[in-house]
Symmetry: C2
Subunit: 212 residues, 2 copies
């Protein structure tokens, strides 16, 4: 596939395409027009054509998209056909919940959870070992780790991010409610829950203007 | 304050402004220029001026922004100075983690958690009662509830959303990995964790093109 510069907005929409295509595929549908996909996804058909054109000729005029092919190609673009080994930093409520989540299905495999509480040492969450923070550097030097998930309190997360990037970790999935200061070659994806709630409360008070 | 149509992109940035201004305020800083705010937030100064102009005259040329005033006004716009009563549907790992999160600070107060497992009946998470799903309609008719947080498995969430909107709930914070089909006057804010991870994996394989 040809390399192109793809806008962030398109990238943000790709996982949603992937999710819908999976559902359509599971329903045994082999071909779908941009019009049908449009009504399912509540995105305009022209938006869909435009987005998918970024990745070359998936569709044929008057014939629609090959669902399986499109699904696989978007999967490749998103990198979900590879294994992405992860570690979770922080075995509190959120770390625990994330360790229990079925991310493996899309290639995201959690190899260990790190915490500082000695009573958690030697325990397992869904078969995943809980290790101590002082084992972090050693673990990363021995094992392949691609993504570190940060579920630490705000006050501890900056130091943890620094330790991780010093060990060569290039991808952080950050749940702490602050923006991390990391080297340029490190990618950070934030899940800022409070920001999301604030957007909800804004939309509640302005819901008369809302469109999906 | 004058009513204006504000773009979604600006709304998405407001919680981040709010967060930075809180930090600046806590550091005892009373005035800040768009240039200083810009270097802290890694957004261009012209973007900041443009965003904040949406809400009228917060700044004065050559004098900067009054931090407290700007913080308060953005807080009002986001609706965080009001109480937003919430209920959490699903007392599993995620529901549990969310119940333990300090959202009250910004006005988001969880009043109850609903689950179907009888062994959870009568228990509390951080003082918040766990009620049974068959008490849902009755609870909502007696209490003021603004936001329902959905942390149910994918297979159960559509039905729960239907029950909630039938009871008049107008705001859903959805953690299930699907898009909800709700009446037009209901606002939904999604936290799709898998989508977020996929964006991260896309960015890992394309990180040479990255800019913050």
């Amino acid at each position: 596939m040809e390399e192109r510069q793809i806008s962030k907005a398109v990238i943000k929409r790709l996982p949603r395409y992937y999710r819908y295509l999976e559902e359509i595929l599971n329903n045994g549908i082999e071909r779908i027009s941009s019009g049908e996909l449009s009504s399912k996804m509540q995105v305009t058909a022209s938006q869909i054509r435009q987005d998918l054109n970024n990745f070359g000729g998936f569709g044929q005029q008057g014939y629609g998209y090959n669902v399986k092919y499109l699904y696989d190609e978007i999967g490749k673009i998103l990198g979900v056909h590879q294994i992405h080994p992860m570690i979770i930093i922080g075995g509190g409520n959120f770390g625990h919940a994330l360790a229990n989540y079925d991310f493996e299905k899309n290639g995201f495999v959690t190899k260990a959870i790190f915490d500082v509480r000695p009573e958690l040492e030697g325990t397992f969450i869904r078969g995943i070992p809980v290790l101590m923070m002082n084992q972090l550097e050693d673990f990363i030097s021995r094992e392949t780790v691609e993504i570190a998930v940060l579920t630490l309190p705000k006050s501890q997360v900056a130091e943890a991010a620094q330790r991780l990037t010093r060990c060569g970790i290039k991808a952080l999935w950050n749940f702490a409610h602050l923006d991390l200061d990391v080297p340029e070659d490190v990618v950070v994806e934030n899940v800022h829950l409070v920001d999301s709630l604030m957007q909800l409360s804004y939309r509640i008070s302005n819901s008369e203007e809302e469109q999906i």
